[in-house]
């Protein structure tokens, strides 16, 4: 239908625009304020009334009821009328000072202004505080949908957080079961026990030389230069062990500054002594960290798998340990080869 199709009396109505009754305005804009030409509130939408329970809003001066954040400087009615069509941001002057946004339109024939407000970002809190229900919002207003989404999202977030916590727990559990020492990348104690078990099972077919290496003066590096320096020294030591052994040998960090090297198919005493000597040699060179000069050395105990008629992991380890103790006892920075006949045959090198 075009304007020309209206009856003449309707054309006049068309140009005037629709006349809305108070109830219609309540339904369309449940948070409206009608402010008369004197600047006093004439009518308040039903939802807005709920935000000021037990308070008479009609008759109050608008600027005493609301503080204008935007636009600033609204004091008299003329300021409001001049803002026809402007978006506004207001707060109640009295607590609770819910922040609201809205629009202001000037009414014809000195009827004042109509302000339509909405709760804005604090919607969840406001709805909860004043017990608003979905009927308090016009069906065209997406506030209820917004609340739905907020609630759905927070439920999902809660589930996701639970999942993250469980995954974190699983990660820690996996690390506990891991075979790798995370600092040095070497095999760890668990891996070493596992490998030892396998080697013992295959003896005497598999022959090997085993070195127990303990870093000397490591604690003083840690104490003097800090843990970061200590960690760097451990990593450098690991690199040296890897470089001085072959790819199918086993290098494990068995404890703080203790390492175990298993040299496969190597029961040649001379060869083992040579390797041990080289390792000590290299470890004694200063290791630089962040401009700091870190100095360590190593004591080594060595044993051979063909020392034993009956090979057990405990025996091998405790003999290597005894030889290492001898090295420490003899002034560190040296290696000792364990021999089954006892201490008097322990050979000292370096």
């Amino acid at each position: 239908m075009r304007v020309a199709d209206f009856a003449p009396s309707d054309v006049k109505a068309y140009h005037k625009g629709p006349l809305l009754g108070k109830v219609a305005i309540d339904r369309l804009m449940p948070m409206h304020l009608w402010v008369g030409p004197t600047g006093h509130v004439i009518r308040v939408g039903p939802t807005l009334r709920k935000l000021r329970p037990g308070q008479a809003l009609v008759g109050q001066r608008l600027t005493e009821l609301l503080e204008f954040r935007r636009p600033r400087g609204v004091q008299v009615m003329a300021d409001l009328i001049a803002r026809d069509g402007a978006s506004i941001q207001v707060l109640f002057r009295a607590a609770p000072r819910s922040s609201m946004k809205g629009i202001i339109v000037a009414l014809p024939q000195q009827q004042g202004v109509l302000i339509n407000l909405s709760i804005g970002i604090s919607v969840a809190e406001t709805v909860s505080k004043f017990g608003l229900v979905s009927k308090d919002f016009a069906p065209s207003d997406p506030t209820v949908e917004m609340l739905y989404l907020i609630e759905a999202q927070s439920a999902i977030l809660k589930e996701s957080k639970k999942l993250n916590t469980r995954l974190q727990g699983a990660k820690i559990a996996a690390e506990e079961q891991a075979y790798t020492d995370t600092l040095t990348g070497l095999k760890n104690r668990r891996a070493l026990d596992h490998i030892m078990g396998r080697l013992i099972g295959r003896a005497p077919n598999d022959k090997f030389g085993l070195m127990h290496v303990d870093l000397d003066f490591f604690k003083s590096v840690n104490d003097t230069h800090g843990h970061a320096a200590g960690d760097h020294v451990l990593q450098e030591a690991a690199r040296i062990f890897i470089e001085e052994t072959r790819s199918d040998d086993i290098v494990a960090r068995s404890g703080g500054d203790e390492f175990v090297l298993i040299l496969m198919d190597c029961v040649d005493e001379k060869m083992l002594n040579k390797i041990a000597g080289r390792i000590i040699d290299r470890l004694q060179r200063p290791i630089m960290f962040d401009g700091l000069d870190c100095r360590v050395s190593a004591s080594i105990g060595i044993t051979l798998s063909n020392n034993y008629n009956e090979l057990t992991a405990d025996q091998v380890c405790s003999d290597a340990d005894a030889a290492l103790y001898q090295s420490k006892h003899k002034g560190r920075s040296c290696y000792t080869l364990f021999t089954p006949d006892g201490d008097k045959h322990l050979q000292k090198g370096n």
Partner: protein
Amino acid sequence: MHGLVNRSIQRFVQNTYGEQTWADICHDAELGFANFESMLSYDSSQTEAVLNVTCKKLQRGRIGLLEDIGTFLISDPASDALRRLLRFGGENFEEFLLSLDDLHDRAQLALPDLDLPSLELREHSAKSFELQYKWQEPGFGTLVLGILRAMADDYGALVLLDHSHGQDDVGDHDRISISLLDAEFAQDRGFELGGAH
């Protein structure tokens, strides 16, 4: 199948039949784990395996079991989230029914990888409706039936529900006829818009 569905089955079994029963079901279904994560997705064959083993172990038919799970999801006092989200649909049971048309899209707005059945409500009269249910995952129609039953109860409405199963190339094509006998038959369990805060 989305983890939320799998997790629901798990919660129902654990709650109603105990932890041990659930552990046995996971074992027999050869899942290789004992916990569904609600925020992950699972192959539908795993859901089917769990449902089959559960039916066998509890000596229950799939139709009745799924309906009970649907009811549990709404009425379990320990978990109010789904009930509340559905109550956003309307002030009374009739409005809630009308909101079901949007449920699929609403759910995807919140969780894009959540694929739910598409639902369409036909109003025969003010008291008589038919809900058309379509889903490519076969055999879950009575889960929705259970949810509807529990929601009617939640609103305090007395309803008569009748489920009939249908199938085509795409998947299930079920119908649930709904007679609203008394909208205010019992006490409404209540819903506050801002109740989650």
